[in-house]
C-alpha cells in the first residue's frame, strides 16, 4: 500500500511540475508584452513596468522566480487591475466556487445513486427505461444549454426562481441543477450497471436465503459494493464540475473563481490566467490522487489485481 501511495505521489508531482512549466512556456511564448495595448505609455514607463513584473530578466531567472512564487503560493498582482493580487481574487472567488461545487457533488451523487438503484431494481421495466432515457438525455445536454433553458423557462417565463446572482438558497437552485445534471446522469448509469452485476452475485442470494429484509440487502450488501466504481470516476466528475463552474458562473453571474478566470482570459490578464490555471490544476490533481488512494483502500481486490497485472 505504501509503495502504491508513493508511486502515485511521484506521478502527481511530475504532473504538477508539467502543468506549471507548461503555463510558463505558453505565457512566455505569447508574442508581445502585455503592456503593448496600453497607449500613451512611453518606453521608460514600459521598461519600468516590465522590470516591476520581472519581465526583463532572462527566461531561466523568470522561470525560477515563477517556481518560487508558486511554491510559496504567491501568484503576484493582476496586470489589468493592479490594485488586486491574484491571491485576493482566489481568496474571494474560491469559497463561492467551492460552495457551488460541493453542493453540486452532493446533489449529483445522491440523486444519481438513487436513480441508478431504482433503475437496477426495476430492470427492464418502464421505470428502468425512463430513468436511463433521462440519464442519456442528461449526459447529452451541455450544462450551459441546460442553464440557459432553465433561466428561460423557470426564471423568465414562470418567475419561480431568481435569474442570476448568488445571494440566497433560492439563487442556488438553478445553477446547482444545471451543473449537477450531467454528473448525476453518469453516476446513475454506472450505479445501474454495477448494481445489476452485483445483484446476481452469490452473496446476495446468500443474504436473501438468510432472510434479510430486501432493503437491508440492497443498502448493506449490494450498494456498498456497487458504489466502488462510482468512486473511481469521481476524479473525472470533479474535473467536469470544476470546468463547468466557468460557464455556470458566467451565465448566473456568480462571483466565483470561474468568473475571474473567464474575465482574465478575455482581458489576456496573464498572471491571473497562470495563477488560476495552476491553482485549479493543483486542486484537481491532488483530488485525483486522493480518489486513487481512497479506491486503493476501499477495494481490497486492487492489490491482488495489481500483482496479477504486473
Amino acid at each position: 500500500m505504501l509503495r502504491y501511495i508513493l508511486k502515485r505521489l511521484m506521478i502527481m508531482l511530475v504532473t504538477l511540475w508539467i502543468i506549471v512549466t507548461l503555463t510558463f512556456i505558453l505565457m512566455v511564448s505569447i508574442p508581445g508584452s502585455p503592456f503593448n495595448s496600453e497607449r500613451g505609455t512611453n518606453e521608460a514607463v514600459q521598461a519600468n513596468l516590465e522590470a516591476h513584473y520581472n519581465l526583463d530578466e532572462p527566461y531561466i531567472i523568470q522561470y525560477l522566480l515563477y517556481l518560487k512564487s508558486i511554491v510559496t503560493f504567491d501568484f503576484g498582482p493582476s496586470i489589468k487591475q493592479p490594485s488586486q493580487t491574484v491571491n485576493d481574487m482566489l481568496g474571494r472567488g474560491f469559497p463561492i466556487s467551492f460552495e457551488l461545487g460541493i453542493m453540486t457533488i452532493i446533489v449529483a451523487v445522491i440523486s444519481g445513486v438513487t436513480l441508478g438503484v431504482f433503475a437496477a431494481l426495476k430492470h427492464n421495466n418502464v421505470i428502468d427505461y425512463l430513468a436511463m432515457g433521462f440519464a442519456v438525455l442528461g449526459i447529452s445536454i451541455p450544462n450551459f444549454v441546460l442553464a440557459t433553458l432553465l433561466i428561460q423557462q423557470l426564471a423568465v417565463n414562470l418567475e419561480i426562481f431568481p435569474v442570476a446572482r448568488w445571494l440566497s438558497p433560492a439563487h442556488m437552485i438553478l445553477p446547482i441543477t444545471a451543473l449537477a445534471t450531467g454528473p448525476m446522469a453518469i453516476i446513475a448509469r454506472l450505479t445501474r450497471s454495477t448494481m445489476l452485476e452485483v445483484l446476481t452475485q452469490d452473496y446476495i442470494k446468500m443474504a436473501r436465503a438468510k432472510g434479510l429484509s430486501p432493503w437491508k440487502i440492497i443498502i448493506k450488501h449490494a450498494l456498498k459494493n456497487a458504489l466502488l466504481p462510482v468512486v473511481t470516476i469521481m476524479g473525472t466528475l470533479l474535473a467536469s464540475i470544476l470546468t463547468g463552474t466557468f460557464v455556470i458562473e458566467k451565465i448566473f453571474a456568480v462571483p466565483g473563481m470561474g468568473k475571474y478566470f473567464v474575465e482574465s482570459i478575455n482581458q489576456r490578464d496573464y498572471p491571473v490566467i497562470m495563477g488560476t490555471t495552476v491553482f485549479y490544476s493543483s486542486f484537481l490533481i491532488i483530488m485525483l490522487f486522493l480518489v486513487d488512494i481512497a479506491y486503493g483502500i476501499l477495494d481490497p481486490r486492487i492489490k491482488i489485481h495489481k500483482k496479477g497485472g504486473e
Binding site: 503555463t23 447529452s140 451541455p142 433553458l149 452485476e197 451565465i251 490544476s281
Partner: protein
Amino acid sequence: MKLANKTPNSSLPPSEVPDEWFTWKEQDRTASEAVSRPSLSYWKDAWRRLVKNKLAMAGLVFLILLVIFAVFGPIFSPYDVNRQDLPNQYQPPSADHWFGTDSAGRDVFTRTWYGARISLFVGLMAALIDFTIGIIYGGISGYKGGRTDNMMMRIIEILYGLPYLLVVILLLVVLGPSLSTIVIALTVTGWVGMARIVRGQVLQIKNFEFILASKSFGTTTSRIIRKNLLPNTMGPIIVQMTLTVPSAIFAEAFLSFLGLGIQAPFASWGVMANDALGAILSGNWWTLFFPAFFISFTMFAFNVLGDGLQDALDPKLRK
C-alpha cells in the same frame, strides 16, 4: 440407413415386420455438408444486433440526416450566413425564416447548418486524430511490453492527470482561437484515453494462440500488429471513437460559448447559444432553442449510437 416404406396402418410387433418393407437409401454426403445459412462474419453479426436496437438506429438516422442537411442545407437557403439585416432582427419562425432570425437579423436556419458543419468537423477530426495516435502509441506499448510499456504507461499516467479542458483553454489562449487550433488543442491530451484502450486490448490478445501461430510462421511484427492484432481490437476502438465525437462537440460548443472557440461572426452552435443568452430575457426563444436542440440531440445521437455499438460489437459485455 433410414426407415422407409412404412405402411401407415401397421400394428405388427417389430419382430414380425417383414424384411421387404425395408429398402436401402443412398446417403447424400454432399448435401449433409452443405451450409444451410450464409455464414455471418463478425461485422455482419454486429450489424444485425445493431439494427435491432431501435434507439441506436434512431440516433444513426438522425446523424445521417444531420450530415445531409449540413452539406446541402445552406445551398437551399436564400440567406447568407453572416449577412446582417438589422431591420429584420428577432423575427419569429415563419415561412421566410424557418427558424426565425437572431439579434443581427441573420437567418437562424442557415446558421444552424453552418454550425452543424463545424461541430461535425471538429468531432470527426478529433476522433480521427485520437484514433491514429492512440493506435500507434497503444499498439506499440501493448505489443512490446516490458520496459517500453512501463515507460510509455508512465507518460500516459502523467498526461492523464492533466485537466483536459484547462489545458485546452491554455493552448487556445496562446495559439489564438480558430478552428484548427481547437482541433489541435482537443487532441493534444485527448488521445490518451484511446491509447489506454488499445494497449489493454493488445495486451490481452497478444497472448492468444493464433498470434503464436502467426509468429511461428515467421510473420513480421508490423504485419502481426496490422493483420492480427488491430482487426481484433476494433470493437472497443470504434465504441471509443463514437464516444469521442460528442465530447469533442461539447468541448467546441463550450469553448465557443466562453468566447475562446469559433469567433463571433462565424456560426457555431456554441457561438449561437452565447449570442442568444442576451435575447432569452426578452422572450425570443428561437434564437436559443435551435442551437440548443441541435447540440443536445447530436450528442444524444452519438451517445446512444455508441451504447448500441458497444452492445453490438461486444455481446459478452451486454447487460
